[in-house]
Amino acid sequence: MQVFKIPESMKKGFKYTFCPGCDHGIAIRLIAELLDEMGLQEKTICATSIGCSVFLYDFLNVDCIEAPHGRAMAEATGVKRARPDKFVFTYQGDGDFASIGFAESSHAALRAENLTGICINNTTYGMTGGQHGPTTLIGQKTTTSPMGRFKETYGYPVRIAEHIALCEGTAFSARVALDTVPHINQAKKALKKAIQVQLDGLGYGFVEILSTCPTNWKMTPEEAHERVKNEMIPVFPLGIFKDKTEDN
């Protein structure tokens, strides 16, 4: 009996380039599994982003267009308007989605674009070496908040999934984590729904995934996942903040 296989939607012979303990790998695998299960690989076009998430096209065997920093939702909008029959999603970090691209992300939701947004929230700018970002927690030390983020100067972290849920065109918005097996299973369910609302033409589907960045957090993979549980989830509660499929 085969107990493990690489999803068909993953590239053959890809080289894994993420840091040990980084959750990008799990997130990408979940997406690949869903593309397989939902029969979407051949009709998928993905708008990738800038940051560690840019490497998505090294792993996923789907068509990808690389967007400038923050513009993934604009490019996805262009793809979807030109080819409404395709399944179109973005894969972005929190800086890309909720800082430099906050306007594009919010307006795509407000326009009720039939798109699926996936945002990896690891409370830092990972690729550039761990700077303070839009989701950095109060008290968190980063290379640009070495004394720890304090609200008087740095303001507050953004709760992305709640924000997107406020947009009327959003059909589904949830926050999930990948720190435990039950959470991973929940994450897959949420991702499936965020995909399904697009296929059903209900509007914008969004999932924020709480993730680790052991390298920049200066933690072991285990410690990093403890941090997700102990520090991130209390500030960024898991759950579904909007679900139009249940409204009906």
């Binding site: 590239k11 690989q41 051949e42 009709k43 998928t44 076009i45 708008a47 990738t48 840019v54 096209y57 996923l60 065997n61 789907v62 068509d63 990808c64 267009i65 690389e66 967007a67 400038p68 923050g70 513009r71 939702m73 604009a74 490019e75 996805a76 909008t77 262009g78 793809v79 979807k80 308007r81 030109a82 080819r83 395709k86 306007a103 594009e104 307006h107 326009r111």
Partner: protein
């Protein structure tokens, strides 16, 4: 008598908008800015009626990236904007050149720098031809001089963008955008270009494709940029176009682009009527620039007078083309009311020293 059976009096902005429709533009994305807003206004209804794509984007950043998304699928798409807002699109243009995507962008110039004002100007020559984005790249840039050319060059922009997989800009100005002239659309005169070898259509029966500018290998990166520039050389060889008038015997040749072309042609006639052997030269493609032809002309022409509504931008390219063989001078005004024929005539006479021709 001129026959107008197939012509209608139409504003430049509407001419561009309808030409894009006839060229097969499947999606328009834009953000309002004077003096080009009529393009988006017109297309909001027209694209809706035709069941094509239209989005009033949240910003110019979004608009140009929506175009990138749409054209990456092989669709024809465009955006339109004006100077200070085209500045916001420069990053995306750099990406689109690197990604080799057939973006079409209409720039109806207004006056800068900064917010400037909404009256016409030609201050975007550098921004368009040399680019405001990062890295080595070249747009293809076409500059219409009347409303009919707004149509013709919009058609050509869609074709060249597709043919060469290179972002192509129609560089008009507020004068052209706002003026009405008789013009006819005819049919889109170019063949459709097969883009099946690269367009993102879903990885059906093939490996997934990725269109990206991200480079991780220095050698590959160098090779890619050299290849891009070989393409630009080819574009220059095959697509460079210009117009010239009375250059055969000219002592002085007036050079202008866009709608200023009209004024230098009129000024040339006045100068000729006064016994001054004047010619006129007008690049239709600003990028690629007709460098070679200007260099040839410099063998027989004493002076080139570049007439621009800016502080002297295209004059740099004229100087590079002439390469020291002849004198190159500027008659200009930075912004606003177009230099009149009389002002140009006076400027040219001042430059050549009217006395030479006093006996005429």
């Amino acid at each position: 008598m001129v026959s107008y059976s197939d012509k209608q009096l139409i504003k430049g902005n509407y001419a561009i908008a309808e030409a894009s429709v006839k060229a097969g533009c499947e999606c328009y994305f834009g953000y309002p800015i004077t003096p080009q807003t009529e393009i988006g206004e017109y297309l909001s209804q027209r694209m809706y009626d035709l069941k094509r794509g239209y989005v009033c984007a949240e910003s110019e950043l979004a608009a140009i990236n929506m175009v990138i998304g749409a054209v990456s699928t092989g669709a024809k798409a465009m955006t339109s904007s004006s100077s200070c807002a085209v500045a916001l699109m420069q990053e995306a243009l750099s990406y689109a050149c690197s990604d080799e995507l057939p973006v079409v962008l209409i720039n109806v110039m207004r006056a800068g720098p900064g917010l400037g004002y909404i009256y016409p100007a030609q201050g975007d020559y550098f921004q368009s031809v040399y680019g405001g984005g990062n890295g080595d790249y070249k747009l293809t840039v076409l500059a219409p001089s009347n409303v009919q050319e707004c149509i013709d060059l919009t058609y050509r922009a869609f074709y060249l963008a597709q043919k060469w997989r290179n972002p192509t800009m129609v560089l008009a100005d507020g004068l052209l955008g706002q003026m009405m002239e008789p013009a006819s659309f005819g049919e889109y005169p170019y063949p459709e270009v097969d883009n099946s070898s690269w367009a993102l259509t879903g990885a059906k029966g093939r490996e997934g494709r990725a269109i990206y500018s991200c480079a991780r290998d220095e050698d590959e990166h160098n090779a890619k940029i050299r290849r891009l520039f070989e393409k630009y050389d080819l574009i220059a060889k095959e697509e460079t176009t210009w117009e010239e008038f009375n250059t055969e015997d000219a002592d002085v040749v007036l050079v202008a682009f866009g709608s200023m072309t009209r004024n230098i042609k009129a000024a040339m006639k006045v100068l000729r009527s006064q016994g001054i052997k004047a010619g006129a030269f007008r690049p239709v493609t600003l990028s690629p620039f007709p460098t070679e032809r200007l260099n040839q002309l410099a063998d027989s022409v004493d002076k080139f007078v570049v007439v621009e509504m800016n502080m002297g931008q295209m004059i740099n390219d004229v100087k590079l083309a002439v390469n020291g063989k002849s004198d190159v001078k500027l008659v200009n005004r930075p912004v606003g009311e177009w230099l009149s024929v009389e002002e140009i005539v006076a400027g040219v006479k001042n430059i050549i020293g009217d006395k030479t021709y006093a006996s005429v």
